[in-house]
């Protein structure tokens, strides 16, 4: 490769290069003698502006810059699942092999293992006519994921050679294709795809399948669909990362892409230690077998942090094209926005709000719009759901990243600091959060859970809202003054809060709760409310009801009732009936004695 330009300025991760005409926008370049990876982000009259994905310490003016002639690209093929990559798809394990525990610069590593032999089943034969996106072979990538090798979306043609089933590396041609222009194209196990370019599909579909997470406050109150978008904003310490981990562990997506974008190194390590040990409840295999980790921690180069979000979503789209349901956890999009701001500042661009560049909203919308439930070129259906954490400065939701994100997502799980202080986790606040997917999911809930589901849910929300109103009064005058039926609402709302909304991620039973149990829990709470109300209407004071301990018993049902054991709810109903009769009788005798 020959030199195409030379460095004339260095400012943090941004360098200025002399020698235009040879550089294209978003082209990948190699910078300096150490061949650091960079990307052209601006072409001016005589100069090109390059952001460098590694530390620029030690770069000198007039060091060479080499153009590669292609955009910064990912290698999409078997070997991605279960891997841990940095922001530009370099496997961290290989980096460790080369440079030890600290990441040094100028490491030349390929994203995929080029030596490893994969057991390939070829699914096309000579003479087949193929179009872009068609599956040509399959590889069992992990126990959980069957990798479908697809034709690059831009190619089509007639198969002229198909390899026999057997073991191949990613570099060996599996199929040779005679294209319309009479060229012979080799199809390998992997294809390259520009990191910033969305992968095409045939058509978008309606979002009407829920992404079940096993978290009660999400599944029941603020559900998200497969292909949907959600945002979890919260100040530090409110449990964003914990919530993201829970979703990554338990949601019913086929593949999870976890992007640790500008977060803590120990957290990534925690995921790496946790996930291989966690067993997927459906398949009985380790969760790592369906997970891709992208780790660009806060101390790794800022430009690679900016790219990590795109790397993550492109990998997700690739697996979507195979017909999988993929969920992306981006933790945290604020760090990504800050990386944009940092680079924008180095470019001396005119800032908009709080120093963020004016293109922040458009970048956010481009990112979130890559989610969706689609029909692929190969007629399979797949989805990409995005769940982005937002870390608002000072925990204040009016800052630009939260506000702009809110415009492009349809599901908002607001984490609340007061709840977190009281160790009420997940600290998703039921009054500030919303989901716009409820209408789309109505059918699903009706036919899969119960006709009654939406009514029950509405009643629960009403009780919580009622409680909120009453608490305003209680804060001023205390709860003693309230009439008995309002005290009852407070008591039931407490059962809902502690027994239903609060969920213990460290408890074996409570960490994941199936929809059916969620529904029964709500029904039981409402049944208790109904019975208690009847008693209160008869003039029995709430304190008498409380003495029986039935409310505390219901709070504990999340632990005491097994996730598969719906029969136990019947016993709970009987206990509520007993409680009802007992209180009624004792009160009758009390009344009799009085008279």
């Amino acid at each position: 490769m020959e030199q195409n330009g030379r460095i004339i300025g260095v400012n943090g991760p941004v360098i200025t290069v002399e020698g235009t005409g040879q550089f294209e926008m978003l082209e990948m370049v190699l910078v300096g003698h150490e061949k650091l990876i960079g990307e052209v982000i601006g072409v001016e009259d005589q100069h090109a502006i390059v952001q460098v994905y590694e530390s620029t310490t030690g770069l000198k003016v007039s060091e060479p810059v080499i153009a590669t002639g292609k955009p910064l690209s990912l290698q999409l093929g078997p070997g991605i699942i279960g891997g841990v990559f940095d922001g530009i798809q370099r496997p961290l394990e290989d980096i460790e092999d080369q440079s030890g525990p600290f990441i040094t610069r100028g490491i030349n590593i390929t994203p995929l293992d080029k030596e490893k032999k994969w057991q390939v089943t070829v699914t096309v034969k000579v003479g087949d006519t193929l179009k872009g996106g068609d599956v040509v072979a399959t590889v069992q990538e992990t126990d959980l994921v069957l990798h479908k090798v697809m034709l690059h979306p831009d190619y089509c043609g007639v198969v002229e050679y198909a390899a026999k089933d057997g073991e191949y590396t990613v570099e060996e041609p599996i199929v040779k294709l005679r294209t319309q222009s009479d060229d012979l194209e080799e199809v390998k196990l992997y294809q390259e795809w520009p990191v910033r370019k969305p992968r095409p599909f045939k058509a978008r579909k309606r979002l009407d399948q829920p992404l079940i997470t096993g978290q009660r406050v999400i599944d029941t109150l603020f559900p998200i669909t497969k292909g949907g978008t959600a945002s979890i904003p919260g100040g530090f310490g409110t449990g964003k990362t914990m919530a993201q981990h829970q979703l990554a562990k338990w949601s019913n997506a086929d593949i999870i892409v976890y992007i640790g974008c500008g977060e803590r190194g120990n957290e990534i390590k925690g995921v790496l230690e946790d996930f291989p040990e966690l067993i997927d409840p459906k398949s009985g295999k380790p969760l790592m077998d369906r997970t891709i980790l992208i780790a660009n921690t806060s101390n790794m180069p800022v430009a690679a942090r900016e790219a990590s979000i795109y790397t993550g979503i492109t990998l997700a789209e690739y697996y979507r094209d195979m017909g999988y349901h993929v969920a992306i956890m981006a933790d945290s999009t604020s760090r990504w926005a800050e990386a944009l701001r940092e680079i924008s500042g180095r470019l001396e661009e005119m800032p908009a709000e709080e120093g963020f560049p004016a293109y922040l909203p458009s970048r956010l919308s481009q990112f979130y719009e890559r989610a969706g439930y689609v029909e692929n070129f190969n007629d399979s259906e797949g989805s990409v759901s995005i769940i982005g954490a937002v870390s608002p400065q000072g925990g204040d939701f009016s800052e630009p990243v939260t506000q702009n994100t809110k415009r492009f997502i349809r599901c908002f799980w607001a984490l609340d600091r007061q709840l977190a202080y009281a160790r009420h986790y997940p600290a998703i606040h039921w009054l500030n959060s919303y989901s716009e997917y409820m209408d789309d999911l109505e059918e699903w809930y009706k036919s899969n859970i119960s006709e009654d589901f939406l009514n029950v849910r509405t009643k629960i929300i009403q009780l919580l809202q009622e409680e909120n109103k009453l608490m305003e009064i209680v804060k001023l005058i205390g709860s003693d003054i309230l009439p008995e039926e309002q005290k009852l609402i407070l008591e039931i709302a407490k059962v809902i809060r502690l027994g239903f909304l609060q969920q213990n991620a460290f408890h074996d039973v409570d960490t994941y709760v199936p929809m059916e149990k969620q529904f029964h829990m709500m029904k039981t709470i409402l049944y208790l409310y109904e019975r208690s109300k009847d008693l209160v209407d008869k003039g029995i004071p709430l304190s008498e009801l409380r003495k029986t301990g039935i409310y505390d018993e219901l709070i504990k049902m999340k632990y005491t009732i097994g996730n598969e054991d719906m029969e136990q709810f019947k016993e709970l109903y009987i206990r509520i009936d007993d409680f009802y009769e007992k209180v009624k009788d004792s009160y009758k005798s009390f009344e009799r004695k009085k008279s």
Binding site: I8, G9, V10, N11, G12, T16, T57, G58, L59, K60, V61, V84, L92, E96, S99, G100, P101, F102, I103, F236, G237, G260, G262, R264, G265, N266, I268, K269, L272, E273, A295, T297, S298, N299, M300, V302, E338, A339, R341, E342, G345, P351, E354, G355, Q393, G394, G395, D396, Y421, A422, V474, K475, L476, I477, G478, S479, D480, L498, F506, G549
Partner: protein, 463 residues
């Protein structure tokens, strides 16, 4: 070999701009010789064709545009390191100021370090007993953690840091291989002296390396001080397998120095004038804590910062909180009530606590007790808010019990003497004894079995 350049094109704030230079590298060190013979050190922070922007650590006072000689060292800022640095006192750039002569280096390391590969880390799980109930019980410190103290001016954060250093013990490890690296940025003379005296008194001084940039030392030097301290810590931890506790104080001064340099470079500011890259910059310090899977040593960081105007949403504590693994927040009102250490446990948090306590680490009931204390104390605040409106007399009986619980909790659990060293069992038993003030059925965060084993109604201890 290095060429000497004569003259400076421009001096702005703490920066000088040189022109007509060749073949120098980004972040290279610069020696600056003044007209009066004085030597200063600088660093290249921006390159543009034949111009270089150099940050002068000792400030630019007295630098003239004509008679200043600069030469480039061809490498980034390095400090000399050997095991002998233990017990030494160095300035903010790592040069000895204790009059004991130069350090004979085994190695010289770049102070900027390199990011730790996340997969080479070892997830921190070892409980460090500090002997302070509010920390051990509720915001447990773990070896390899970065746990800052958010304080305010006039609060006893220094005393707390000293107490942690004196009492910190790792369970099942008798701590022979223990060292303290103390980095002071913009700290007052007497505060630095207080630390020194305290270390001396408790006999750990020969295990301490001090990097001092005092309040009257050059502001820009502060940007390098924590980096020197952490480089020394990395050397001790990963070359000599020591368990290093790093105390960095005061991070607020550090951030202000960062702002000063940024503004003299003419950068576009973000919140409150702090530079947009402050998050990345702070992360490059805090993320240097941790453990590696193939080394025995560890780096535990306790950065101290004073929140301007006690405001936890100020950019400095805010960004810090997003990077560190929790925070210990001191509270002025509690201090005024005579509580030491005045740790406000509600906003305090240790993120690594969940994996380092309980069975096999501390005691099996620890997570539940901690959870219950948090929940009950949070409720105390609600009751207090109510009491301030309707008066304490009007509260329900149960709420009165909460008020009593809150008072005893603050006075007996949180509060302790500056030399009181409580073992974790004592802390947990104390927690149970105070939870006994509340009726059993209020304790909804503890399971039945544990409750039966430990719960007993509160008996007022004989005074």
């Amino acid at each position: 070999m290095s060429i000497e350049y004569l003259g400076v094109k421009e001096v702005t704030g703490s920066l000088i701009i040189l022109q007509g230079i060749k073949d120098i590298a980004y972040e290279e060190m610069v020696d600056i010789k003044l007209q009066n013979g004085e030597n200063r050190v600088g660093r290249v922070i921006q390159l543009k064709e034949d111009m270089a922007v150099v940050q002068v650590f000792e400030g630019t006072t007295g630098i003239s545009s004509t008679n200043t000689r600069t030469s480039f060292k061809g490498r980034a800022l390095e400090i000399p390191l050997s095991r002998e640095i233990l017990g030494r006192t160095l300035d903010g750039l790592g040069r000895p100021i204790d009059g004991l002569g130069d350090i004979l280096p085994d190695v010289k390391w770049d102070v900027n370090g390199s990011p730790i590969n996340p997969i080479a880390r070892l997830y921190p799980r070892n409980f460090i007993q500090t002997g302070i109930s509010a920390i051990d019980g509720l915001t447990t410190l773990i070896r390899g953690q970065k746990l800052p103290v958010f304080s305010g001016n006039g609060l006893p954060h220094d005393a707390l840091a000293v107490q942690i250093v004196n009492q910190a013990r790792i369970m099942g490890d008798e701590g022979h291989n223990f060292a303290v690296v103390f980095g002071a940025m913009g700290v007052k003379n007497d505060v630095a002296d207080y630390f020194r005296r305290s270390f001396e008194k408790s006999g750990v001084l020969e295990k301490v390396v001090m990097f001092l940039n005092l309040a009257n030392d050059p502001v820009v030097e502060r940007i390098v001080t924590p980096r020197c301290a952490l480089t020394a810590a990395e050397y001790l931890a990963f070359e000599h397998n020591m368990h290093v506790l790093v105390i960095l104080t005061d991070m607020t001064s550090y951030c202000e120095a960062l702002r000063e340099v940024s503004s003299s470079k003419g950068e576009i500011p973000s919140r409150k004038g702090f530079p947009g890259y402050m998050y990345s910059d702070l992360a490059s310090l805090y993320e240097r804590a941790g453990m590696l899977k193939d080394r025995e040593g560890s780096i535990t960081q306790i950065p101290i910062l004073t929140m301007p105007n006690d405001d936890i949403t100020h950019p400095i504590p805010d960004l810090t909180g997003y990077i560190t693994e929790g925070q210990v927040v001191l509270n002025r009102a509690m201090y005024q009530r005579g509580i030491y250490p005045p740790i406000n446990i509600l906003p305090s948090l240790s993120r690594l606590m969940k994996d380092g306590i309980g069975d096999g680490y501390t005691r099996s009931d620890h997570p539940q007790v901690a959870n219950q204390l948090f929940a009950s104390y949070a409720h105390v605040q609600e009751v207090k808010a109510l009491a301030s409106v309707i008066g304490e007399d009007e509260l329900t009986d149960i709420d009165k019990q909460y008020i009593a619980f809150g008072k005893v909790f603050e006075e007996q659990f949180v509060s302790q003497a500056k030399d009181e060293n409580r073992a974790i069992e004592i802390t947990l038993d104390l927690g149970w004894s105070i939870l006994g003030i509340l009726p059993k059925k209020e304790l909804d965060r503890i399971d039945e079995e544990t409750l039966n084993k430990y719960y007993k109604p509160y008996k007022k201890e004989r005074e």
